[in-house]
């Protein structure tokens, strides 16, 4: 997927003014947050499990080369193939080769963020294949030709009416002519249409929530069952996964599963957790004849050990975006690429370039809720602050902002000057806003007062008020 992250300001504005999106985001706010809270509270061991899950990931990252090689060796023992890709282009080429060698036409896909990261659908279509997303949310946005707006609920921005219109327009070719808006009817319609696709696909491509080094298994965690029809029915099963997805043992995976489901959907366990190890065995009556795992780096190996190292612990649960006020306000599409919300504001600049995504680290109030809920305790807001610093160092910050920051820094390092300037400003602003109690316009701050009034200051600074109070008390 081509990045549109440079376009954040105008996309965010569009999001803020879209009434359908505002309604959809209000749903997300209550739905995800309350369910997660209840699920986490119901498990007394949650804090310890969270700590252990973090330790497992950290241990694996410290020995990542070892665990990747072990995983690879196990997959080979089962008769599967492991491919390595440094870049999205390499990963695309590998998948295309596998599909060509299989003489494939139709390709079903389970939801995979790495699949989005490497723009697999575009590549498959350009090469003449017919890729079909089978997760309901992914299917909806594929029909709408849109990117996902949430990592676990990709079509969260769509209303039932929009989905009804989409199905009405695109399902006539299957003899389904009635426009239906009930969610049950919409789910049923997608089920009917996709059934036939599942059974006629030549290759099935899924992502992976885990790669287990002990057993050489790729693991998907889903609720719909589409991932399982995708990895069982076609002749070839291809897995696309980031190199950070590996964990040592089945026990380690089991621990992380407990925190993943609760943080993602508020479930104790997802409906389907499936481990795939190699192709079908001798005597098996079903399952794919070939099994391939494509391991993608795309900058991950360089994040290892640097100041963004901890981001590699991310298990893609979506809790950070579910708790982010900025994400709720602007929606996922504003972020302009695959990863959205706080985790996207860190990953996108690291993967597509800070220059391209320079606005994302600034689309943050630094309130820290993302870090608080993150099951892997990733210090997202600290990383966002680091990216801002890097922008300043690399001169990506706009000249006016740089000038402003310089001026502020100059004053802030001189307490007497700072107090003088602020007390002067407070007095002037207090006088100006005396009558209404608020200021409608402010020179140099049009961006702020363009959409809201500034409450008029009390006329003196906090420091001055504090000093006065202490005198009175005495």
């Amino acid at each position: 997927m081509k990045s549109a992250a440079h376009d954040f300001p105008s996309r965010a504005r569009a999001g803020l003014q879209n009434p359908d999106l505002v309604r959809a985001m209000a749903r997300a706010r209550t739905g995800f947050i309350d369910k997660r809270r209840a699920a986490v509270d119901a498990l007394p061991e949650y804090p310890q499990l969270r700590r252990i899950a973090r330790e497992i990931k950290e241990h694996t990252l410290q020995h990542l080369d070892y665990y990747l090689e072990r995983f690879e060796a196990r997959v080979r023992e089962h008769g599967g193939h492991v491919h390595w890709a440094s870049t999205p282009a390499e990963a695309q080429a590998i998948v295309l080769d596998v599909c060509r060698a299989a003489g494939a036409k139709r390709i079903t896909k389970g939801k995979s963020m790495v699949g989005e990261e490497i723009a697999l659908n575009e590549a498959l279509e350009a090469a003449g294949f017919e890729p079909i997303e089978t997760d309901l949310g992914e299917y909806i946005i594929q029909l709408a030709n849109e990117p996902p707006s949430h990592i676990i609920a990709p079509a969260i921005h769509k209303t039932r009416d929009q989905i009804a219109d989409l199905f009405h327009a695109r399902h006539a070719q299957y003899g389904l002519h009635e426009r239906r808006t009930e969610p049950t009817a919409l789910v049923g319609e997608a089920r009917t249409v996709l059934r036939e696709k599942f059974q006629t696909a030549d290759v099935g491509i899924t992502g992976a929530n885990f790669l287990v080094a002990e057993t050489g298994s790729s693991v998907i965690v889903t609720n719909e069952g589409n991932g399982d029809l995708t990895n069982t029915l076609p002749r070839v099963h291809v897995v696309t996964a980031g190199i950070e997805k590996v964990v040592p043992t089945l026990e380690d995976m089991s621990t992380i599963l407990r925190v993943l489901a609760r943080n993602a959907t508020g479930q104790e366990a997802s409906a389907y957790t499936t481990l795939s190890s190699g192709p079908r065995r001798a005597g098996d009556l079903d399952g794919p004849g070939e099994y391939h795992v494509v391991l993608l780096d795309n900058g991950r190996s360089q994040m290892l050990g640097n100041e963004f190292h901890e981001m590699l612990r991310c298990i893609r649960c979506g809790a950070c975006m579910n708790h982010c006020p900025v994400y709720h306000a602007v929606g996922g599409h504003a972020y302009g690429w695959v990863y959205v919300g706080p985790m996207g504001s860190v990953l996108t600049p690291l993967m597509v370039g800070l220059d391209e995504a320079r606005d994302l680290p600034n689309a943050c109030t630094l309130n820290g809720r993302c870090r608080e809920v993150c099951p892997m305790e990733i210090p997202l807001s600290d990383m966002i602050r680091k990216l801002r610093e890097r922008e300043f160092d690399e001169r990506l910050t706009p000249p006016r902002t740089r000038l402003g920051l310089r001026a502020w820094a100059f004053a802030a390092r001189r307490p007497a000057l700072y107090r003088f300037v602020t007390s002067l400003a407070m007095r002037v602003l207090g006088l100006l806003g005396r009558r209404r109690g608020r200021l409608r316009r402010l020179p140099l701050a049009g961006g702020w007062t363009g959409t809201r009034d500034l409450p008029a200051p009390a006329g003196e600074t906090f420091m001055a008020a504090w000093a006065k109070r202490r005198v009175e008390k005495r």
Binding site: R195, E196, N223, A269, Y272, G283, Q302
Partner: protein
């Protein structure tokens, strides 16, 4: 070996500030961790495993029937068929043994087809903590039976219900030695929240999951 492989591994090692692979002594420690996997913290259960399993499976909308012997399985399946207006032909896992099928049922033993309405399979284990069943692929238990039919009936012996997932892994290692192609952990029927976050059952997999817990 591919160039990308060497490039990625070299980059990982550079980032970890190592010149080459881990020293032998460290590798041995890690080998042992993989060869004798130990459970991490297992959450306490406030109930015996069987009751806990039944309670949790019910909470995720799996239908639970409890019977004393395998002889009763056929009757439960017949009632399920009547209740949901399904046809009387079923697909059973080839390895499901000991069930005396009623002669009203036409039973086929094979992998699933798109037109199958109902399948009956055995479970390798039941996980009390989450109310999940664990099914293993193999000639005797084709994976498609777990996903293609509209209704999925799972026969689970009480003696196969373990407290935690970790216990089932231990059982798998002990009894099978190696991983089958597919391990399915199934917790309730297929569901989706992709239309306005309304949770609906019967997305792509079975609309109904019915677990028959057998005491004997």
């Amino acid at each position: 070996m591919s160039i990308a492989r060497e490039r990625i591994l070299a980059s990982v090692r550079r980032s970890l500030r190592r010149a080459g692979p881990l020293p032998e002594s460290v590798r041995e420690v890690l080998d042992r961790r993989l060869d004798a996997p130990a459970p991490n913290l297992k959450p306490a259960l406030d109930d015996d495993p069987v009751s806990h399993f039944v309670h949790k499976a019910d909470a995720v909308h799996a239908r639970i029937s409890r019977v004393s012997t395998l002889a009763e399985v056929s009757g439960v399946v017949l009632r399920h068929i009547e209740e949901h207006g399904l046809g009387e032909s079923i697909v059973a896992a080839p390895g499901l043994e000991g069930v005396q099928w009623s002669n009203r049922l036409a039973v086929e033993r094979r992998a699933a087809r798109g037109s199958d309405q109902i399948s009956v399979t055995g479970a390798f284990a039941g996980i009390a903590e989450t109310g999940s069943v664990m099914l293993l692929s193999g000639p005797e238990s084709p994976t498609t039976l777990n996903f293609l039919p509209e209704d999925h009936v799972v026969v689970l012996r009480e003696s196969r219900i373990v407290p935690h997932l970790e216990d089932a892994w231990a059982m798998l290692r002990e009894e099978r030695g190696s991983m089958p192609r597919t391990v399915n952990l199934i917790c309730g029927p297929s569901k989706t929240g992709d239309v306005e976050l309304v949770i609906l059952e019967g997305a792509h997999g079975p609309r109904r999951l019915h677990v028959i817990v057998v005491r004997e």
